[in-house]
């Protein structure tokens, strides 16, 4: 068994905190029977603990804060659902716009891809704020990749991953604005330029646009204004 010739100072704290093995506890207790100084020290530490515990503030308002947060999430979702419903009704009226159901499906897919990455805690496979490094990494994994735009205007480049959209691998560049992560999917496309059109899918904003031979999808829990600002930044840098 361990034996303390010296005062077991660190072990005394661990003993007090119930973090010692049985052996360690016995060794400390053996020392305590022989050492008045350590007994007094332990007594002082116990008095300190009682004092701190008696001074522990109530924090009952924390539960109401939690319930406010979850209630707000539910209200926001119901509202998004209602707005989505109106959009669907409008779409149904414009039966000629055959593309709507497909693009609506993709909006949900884009949101789901983003949610999956967040939930897995794996937003980037390459963490880097260097656009050249991100470009090299993507170029090594995809046949055709778009050079990403570096940080600016409050958007920080965080890195990249390759995700899958509509059944094919696509370059996914990740930015952060305040506390929000933004996924930007981009691929070469022949379609003509299109202004960002944000739509809401659950708790996420999804935004589709095209510029100079590149098609973009962006998704985030940041607001629509943030996504438009990021689109503007990308356009500006790529002109």
């Amino acid at each position: 068994m361990e034996h303390f010739d010296e005062h077991p100072r660190g072990a005394l704290h661990a003993y007090l905190d119930g973090e010692l093995s049985l052996e360690g506890s016995l060794a400390v207790e053996e020392h305590l029977t022989a050492c008045g100084a350590c007994r007094r020290q332990l007594e002082t530490l116990r008095a300190l603990r009682r004092l701190l515990q008696s001074a522990r503030p109530a924090a009952s308002e924390a539960e109401s804060a939690l319930l406010r947060v979850t209630r707000r999430v539910r209200v926001r979702r119901r509202r998004a659902l209602a707005v989505g419903g109106i959009a669907m009704a409008a779409a149904a009226a414009l039966v000629a716009m055959v593309l709507v159901p497909r693009s609506d499906r993709t909006v949900r897919e884009v949101a789901a891809v983003h949610a999956r990455a967040l939930d897995a805690g794996r937003s980037v496979d390459l963490a880097s704020s260097d656009p050249a490094a991100v470009e090299r990494w993507l170029a090594a994994r995809l046949p055709e990749s778009i050079p990403p735009v570096g940080s600016g205007d409050g958007f920080a480049l965080r890195g990249a991953r390759v995700d899958s959209l509509d059944g094919r691998p696509v370059a996914t560049v990740v930015y952060q604005v305040r506390n929000h992560l933004v996924d930007v999917f981009a691929w070469p496309s022949a379609e003509k330029d299109m202004e960002p059109r944000p739509s809401v899918a659950g708790r996420f904003t999804v935004c589709r646009w095209a510029h100079r031979g590149v098609a973009y999808w962006m998704v985030s829990d940041a607001g629509t204004e943030d996504l438009k600002a990021l689109a503007a930044l990308i356009k500006e840098r790529r002109t």
Binding site: E19, T44, E63, L66, R74
Partner: protein, 172 residues
């Protein structure tokens, strides 16, 4: 579709008070603490489905700590620096009335004394003595090895004792 928010309530509710107490220990005022708390709950809600660790409490508290971090940096200018003072000298080996002096302290003296400690010491004391976290949980919240938790905790206790009852050890 509301189910996950209800589920999150059940998941987070037992740890809400601990989260607020830690937030209060880490930021300057009640309004900041409430902001930190709310932001932490939102973040935790977004990610709690991916949670697979052992201690939901340690996970939530580590989020509180991360959210506090941005505020920390703003407030660092007017705070005592986050350094760990070294324990120099030997522990007291003469009888001392510290225990009795401590009995005479009240809650407001304790909070004042805690406020005078560096944040690293304050948070470890709150986690251990008020929330009764294990060393493992504290290590997870702080992102440091258990050995660091132990040494920081013993320094924090020694420093709090000094704040409460004066210099506890004999000077040579």
């Amino acid at each position: 579709m509301d189910d996950d928010s209800r589920e999150f309530e059940r998941f987070a509710r037992p740890h809400a008070a601990a989260a607020l107490r830690l937030a209060r220990a880490l930021v300057r005022n009640e309004a900041d603490a409430q902001d930190v708390l709310q932001d932490s709950f939102l973040r935790a809600f977004r990610h709690f489905r991916g949670f697979s660790g052992e201690s939901p409490r340690a996970w939530i508290l580590s989020i509180v700590r991360n959210v506090s971090f941005t505020l920390w940096r703003k407030q660092q200018r007017d705070e005592p620096a986050d350094v760990e003072p070294l324990l120099e000298g030997e522990p007291d080996t003469t009888p001392s009335p510290e225990g009795r002096l401590l009995e005479a302290c009240d809650a407001s003296q304790v909070h004042d004394a805690l406020d005078r400690l560096p944040r690293l010491h304050r948070e470890v004391l709150v986690l251990r003595e008020m929330e009764e976290c294990s060393y493992r949980e504290i290590a997870d919240v702080l992102g440091v090895p258990i050995g660091t938790v132990m040494s920081r905790l013993s320094r924090a206790r020694a420093q709090l004792l000094r704040e409460l009852v004066g210099e506890p050890r004999s000077k040579n």
